[in-house]
Symmetry: C2
Subunit: 210 residues, 2 copies
């Protein structure tokens, strides 16, 4: 990929990321067809000519972004300790990783969500090979090694996991606004996560857990 887009990758990283984020944002918000290259260059603060110098056309830019985002996410996800057996510790690790990605590419996940719903004929066939599994691999990515025996016996585990997921999702969305408001937000954001995990651990685990 780097070889193909050598012109683009020899840019200063700051400029490169400005372009990536501008394009991700526009495609995420408007879908492939309605996304405007004019808007992208305006947001990225580069000229129209430059964009079409780095990428031959809109389609190429779009498919590059898809490849790139999947690669970046894969790469950072590899850092998670998949041997941790406690679901809440695992979830917190995943949350941290997602936060890292979000800080660098705020629209990456929205872009992927939009890709999953995309139906522009010009890119639909190319998208398919990526597969919905990878796209949806936010939280669903394997519960391998999770110790489910910690859960109470009188509740459905799959449904309980759904509750946990929806809670994380909902809380993350609520926090996003706050994160966006402040310039440089550190990991203190995660303190409140523990409150929610504590509640759920206390309620969903057998008494005297771990």
């Amino acid at each position: 990929m780097i070889i193909i887009y050598s012109k683009f990758f020899s840019l200063e990283p700051e400029k490169r990321e400005r372009i990536i984020n501008a394009a991700l944002k526009e495609f995420a918000r408007n879908g492939y067809e309605k996304a405007s290259t004019n808007e992208i260059v305006k947001e990225a603060e580069i000229s129209k000519g430059s964009l079409f110098n780095y990428f031959n056309n809109k389609k190429e830019l779009y498919l590059f972004l898809l490849d790139y985002v999947v690669e970046v996410i894969d790469q950072i996800y590899a850092e998670v300790d998949w041997n941790e057996t406690d679901i809440f510790k695992r979830m917190k690790a995943i949350g941290l990783v997602k936060f890292k990605i979000y800080k660098k590419f705020p629209e990456a996940f929205n872009f992927l969500k939009a890709v999953a719903h995309e139906d522009a004929t010009e890119v639909k066939s190319e998208i398919k090979e990526i597969g919905e599994q990878i796209i949806a691999s936010g939280f669903e990515r394997g519960y391998q090694n999770i110790d489910f025996t910690k859960f109470r016996d009188d509740i459905d585990i799959q449904k309980t996991i759904n509750i946990i997921n929806w809670t994380i999702l909902g809380f993350a969305e609520q926090q996003r606004d706050e994160v966006d408001s402040f310039e440089d937000v550190g990991l203190e954001v995660f303190d409140e996560w523990d409150d929610y995990f504590d509640i759920m651990k206390r309620c969903f685990y057998k008494e005297e857990g771990e």
Copy 2:
């Protein structure tokens, strides 16, 4: 309102709702500015001339929809029994009401969500007077008369309520796809709700509740 839009309200109800739903959909998906009146008339299967006969211009149509949707939702919400003190029974009642609205105007809530994020200068000032409270009044609409003493003493009630809300929200979204797939779906959809409510009741309430 009915007086102002008399031309529109003297249409056959079926046609009227077709237009409303087409417009809600287009505005919900694209926001005020990018929404296309051409798309609306195509989806509603009426002519361009008719639309601009019922409404003088795009802005008038948009503001009408906002008024109308708020009114419809208010009206149906009035049916809820606000004396019920059990939070899960209350939530189920609200869920039923929302389901009713959804069946008639599938894009109504998405439209309101889009309105809340709208920032087109042409309509922004007119929106403000509606106020975000009304817009966000999905589940947040008052926990009056709810008996919070049923909850365990060792968990934060506000956060627990958030968990309940996010669960309902997440489950509703998951179900929406299924609902859309079948032509006429009855209330059997709500059976699975009880499973989730049972889990949460068992976990969040004091033991031996009611």
